[in-house]
């Protein structure tokens, strides 16, 4: 009781002394001064801006269910972008899909974040330090250019917001309904932002993963070559009457093409002249194809001088599910597999493989019989090292195992090595539709393992007395896990480490030196064709292509005159940057994807074993229908400019929808 009285008296007294001005800041809420007044505070915002960059990396999932984000998606497991370009086929990519979730609200949230930083940091320059302030502002401009690039390559002209819009305090609702800027204005804005960034960023990144002057220049070469292709190859035009002014929201005046190509050329030149980056050749040995393949493969799994801008993953902070998506069935420890199987259309681009007069894989000899091989891999023995480093061919070795890919066993009479092509050779449809008793096929991976399915081999067969009809990985006739195209993807796959449960840790190389050389080669060749002569453009394109080919182990161009078509430059880009989520955007900006994909089926490899010949023959045909899917690809040209989300056109009626929607 007494204690209570004492406490009451004390607290009574305390209240008097506590009567003070309550105009103090809350201590549990961070204010502007806390964030911007310290480098740690600013870095927390910078880190967030970086983490939300619209990068098409391992965690980019074009089929994210709207309105979920396509970026940093944990569900990037099934549909892979490489299966939209003809580079590969995939079980779950059944047609010419397009992005299913819009990138708009997310983009403008990121832009506002960046605008806020740009407006606030200069006020605290004293507390932060002059160099740090300069770097933050330049980084923010790089990120803003990066975000607008993601918008313009999808939608064309978009509202150009370079300051925070203070709604509702000083801006009314009508003031937020901003018109789309012209596409040209956005490309020019990106160039201006990157020029600012290049001028103010340091020579070397302050911390691994942050940008520097050369990252901005390399990215500028990519953005400007993209703008140049739109100016040159785009034929879609859309204008909007914006309060009396006509603005071209889709398309760029063709007269600007050379400006953009020159800007790309010079930006790339800056990276090259800086001398800090080079093509990785640490394990490369002249004339040694195996070493060259090893070198190319190592490029993607190590920190090298070729890496310019990398998104780092590691086991503690951020992981992805790349392995779980593309791994062979044979080496998986759980989860998904086999979503990317490089096509014969892709493989035929490479050197060192026997091809017929049409440039197609030569699996049939001049007498019209299948060529026979002890192993399917023998057909690729002399293949270009870059191919062997990118694609896992049937019976190649991965993680210490021979990756067994076999479509079936043929038990017919080989007539001393004269096997006539099957009825399904070069054809549509499933091999199982032949109902040919001479073909032993497995309908599923489980029936493949059934002892009753084992096919007896002839006496003296090196494989023993019996063999399963399909390889361990398949392919099988019906819808199942396992291989579908006869090959697996090897680029970015590691030899050790977890392959399941989203535990992959390979870092994503967003920009590497080879891309800078290719950007410059494309810009240079386009300028050469346009008759520009400020520099020896033809020679630069020739030199760059040959540098890339030399490192790749490909056949080099003998002399400048051999470089006589933009298609040579484009093909080199498709071979070098394959499976890096870049080819799709290249095909779109060159405006060729609609022509390539009209009722198109991709060609795949089906290895068969002949019991009588005791050798393999390789059948090439169109991707087999499974699960009712016909895998017929038709790209709708209306998707060159994607649909602006209807939620946006409703909120902001001044946003004109893209043509075709």
């Amino acid at each position: 009781m007494k204690l209570r009285k004492i406490i009451l008296t004390i607290s009574f007294a305390a209240t008097f002394s506590a009567c003070s001005d309550l105009n103090i800041q809350p201590i549990n809420v961070l204010g502007e001064g806390d964030i911007y007044g310290s480098n740690d505070g600013v870095m927390s915002q910078v880190a967030r801006i970086y983490s939300r960059l619209p990068m098409e990396d391992f965690k980019y999932y074009y089929a994210a269910a709207s309105p979920a984000s396509m970026f940093n998606s944990s569900g990037a497991l099934y549909k892979q972008m490489a299966c939209l370009t003809g580079e590969a086929v995939g079980r779950d990519t059944q047609g010419a899909d397009t992005e299913t979730s819009p990138y708009w609200d997310e983009a403008y949230a990121e832009i506002r974040d960046i605008n806020t930083l740009l407006e606030n940091v200069p006020d605290h320059a004293d507390a932060l330090g002059e160099t740090e302030t300069k770097t933050y502002l330049a980084e923010a401009r790089f990120c803003r250019a990066y975000t607008y690039y993601a918008l313009v390559k999808r939608y064309g002209g978009v509202p150009l917001i370079a300051t925070t819009i203070d709604y509702p305090a000083s801006v009314d609702l009508a003031g937020t309904q901003i018109f789309r800027a012209s596409e040209e204005a956005i490309w020019d804005f990106i160039a201006a932002e990157l020029d600012e960034a290049i001028a103010n960023l340091p020579e070397t990144s302050p911390v691994k993963g942050r940008v520097n002057k050369y990252v901005a220049a390399a990215f500028k070469s990519r953005a400007m070559v993209h703008a140049g292709s739109i100016a040159k190859y785009n034929t879609i035009e859309q204008t909007q009457d914006q309060n009396g002014t006509t603005v071209r929201t889709c398309g760029v005046p063709s007269g600007r093409a050379n400006d953009y190509y020159k800007a790309a050329f010079e930006a790339a030149q800056m990276v090259i002249a800086g001398g800090k980056y080079a093509l990785y050749k640490g394990q490369w040995v002249a004339g040694d194809k195996a070493a060259q393949a090893k070198n190319f493969r190592a490029l993607f799994l190590n920190e090298t001088t070729e890496n310019i801008f990398v998104k780092y993953y590691d086991a503690n902070n951020a992981t992805h599910s790349y392995d779980e998506s593309v791994q062979p069935y044979q080496t998986k420890t759980g989860g998904n597999d086999s979503e990317v199987s490089p096509t014969m259309d892709f493989i035929e681009m490479f050197d060192g493989i026997a091809k017929d007069e049409n440039g197609l894989f030569d699996n049939i000899d001049d007498n019209g019989y299948y060529r026979l091989f002890n192993s399917p891999l023998d057909a690729f023995a002399n293949a270009e090292p870059r191919l062997r480093a990118t694609v896992l061919l049937p019976m190649d070795t991965y993680r210490g195992k021979v990756i067994e890919i076999r479509r079936g066993i043929w038990t017919g009479n080989a007539n001393s090595g004269k096997i006539t092509p099957t009825a399904k050779e070069g054809d549509l449809g499933n091999v199982a539709d032949l109902n040919d008793p001479l073909f032993s096929l497995a309908s599923s991976l489980s029936t493949n393992l059934d002892p009753k399915s084992l096919v007896p081999l002839e006496a003296g067969d090196p494989h023993g007395a019996k063999m399963t009809p399909s390889g361990v990985n398949g392919p099988v006739s019906a819808w199942d896990f396992g291989n579908t195209g006869g090959t697996y993807l090897l680029k970015y796959l590691t030899e050790t480490g977890p392959t399941t449960g989203g535990n992959s840790t390979q870092s994503w190389i967003e920009i590497r030196f080879a891309e800078v050389l290719l950007n410059q080669a494309e810009a240079a060749y386009e300028l050469y064709q346009a008759g520009a002569s400020e520099a020896n453009y033809h020679n630069v394109a020739f030199t760059n292509i040959n540098s890339i080919r030399e490192r790749a182990g490909a056949i080099m161009l003998a002399n400048e005159a051999d470089l006589n078509s933009i298609d040579t430059v484009r093909k080199e880009r498709r071979k070098e940057l394959a499976f890096e989520n870049k080819t799709y955007w290249d095909l779109k900006r060159w405006r060729i994807i609609a022509n390539e994909q009209t009722n198109r089926h991709w060609r795949i490899l089906n290895p068969f074993y002949s019991t009588n010949a005791k050798q393999y023959f390789l059948s090439v045909k169109y991707q087999e229908p499974r699960g009712g899917f016909q895998y017929n690809f038709t790209f709708d040209p209306k998707n060159y400019y994607q649909q602006i989300p209807v939620t946006e056109t409703t909120k902001n009626p001044n946003t004109k929808q893209n043509p075709g929607f």
Partner: protein, 261 residues
């Protein structure tokens, strides 16, 4: 805590009560907008696809109801294969109507729709494709047609090159690019296999992915060995996109019966 629960519940109840009261007893839309698209020169109905589909579109009639807003959400409708349309569920109002398809762009029109409104649009198609003779059913499980493709307009903005010619074969009376997803007997002609304009052209069925030399390893597909009906139609497009996508001009539909063999 208990009183908060009571407050929340009573607020919810009030909200529910407030929202019931307004039944949607408004009358259903019942105005009729019908009509046809015809070839200006021949007076024939314009042959087209039905609706939007992957890789193209038929004739789109975009209606903007300006009765309430200057920037409404568009209401799109599409025509039948012969260019006719009949929509009996239009709200009464003032509409801006734009008709787009495989023909020279025509200006938009604004008018009121009340009762029945009929509009017949005369257009210049990009291409005119005519049957030269009846389709011939061959003994080997194919069919051959003869058509003539010519330009339907002299307008200088629409003289782009012929890009794609198809002989569509369908199991139903719906034939065309819109209904061709997995048809195995259609024939695609592109690039080097494109026919010339203003000349009689023979096309045989069975090359759905293209034929040599465009697809050197393609195999011709033959009809099943029993007799059955198919519907044939020839379509073509020039390298000019309308409505942001590919648009095709067509012949009329012809039916054949294959031979048992």
């Amino acid at each position: 805590m208990k009183s908060i629960k009571h407050i929340v519940w009573s607020l919810l109840l009030m909200a529910v009560i407030a929202s019931c009261g307004e039944d949607d007893n408004y009358p259903a839309p019942a105005e009729v907008f019908k009509g046809s698209i015809v070839d200006k020169e021949t007076g024939e109905p314009l042959q087209t696809d039905i609706g939007p589909f992957t890789g193209g579109s038929g004739v789109r009639i975009r209606m903007m109801e300006y009765s309430w807003s200057a920037t409404p959400q568009p209401y799109d409708m599409y025509t039948e294969m012969d260019g006719t349309f009949n929509n009996t569920k239009i709200f009464k109002g003032n509409y801006g109507v734009t008709v787009e398809g495989p023909f020279v762009a025509i200006p938009a029109d604004t008018f009121d729709i009340a009762g029945t409104v009929e509009k017949n649009y005369e257009v210049e198609p990009f291409l005119r494709i005519e049957w030269v003779s009846e389709p011939v059913v061959n003994d080997d499980g194919t069919a051959t047609v003869q058509v003539k493709i010519s330009r339907g307009t002299a307008n200088p903005d629409y003289q782009q090159a012929l890009t794609e010619v198809w002989l569509y074969v369908s199991e139903t009376q719906y034939v065309g690019a819109f209904s061709n997803a997995n048809q195995t007997f259609s024939t695609m002609l592109t690039g080097a296999t494109l026919p010339a304009l203003d000349a009689t052209v023979s096309i045989t069925t069975g090359w759905p992915t293209g034929m040599p030399p465009m697809k050197p390893d393609a195999k011709q597909k033959f009809f099943p060995t029993y007799a059955r009906n198919y519907f044939l139609r020839v379509g073509a497009r020039i390298n000019k996109q309308m409505i942001g996508t590919n648009v095709f001009n067509y012949t009329t539909v012809k039916e054949i019966t294959t031979k048992a063999r």
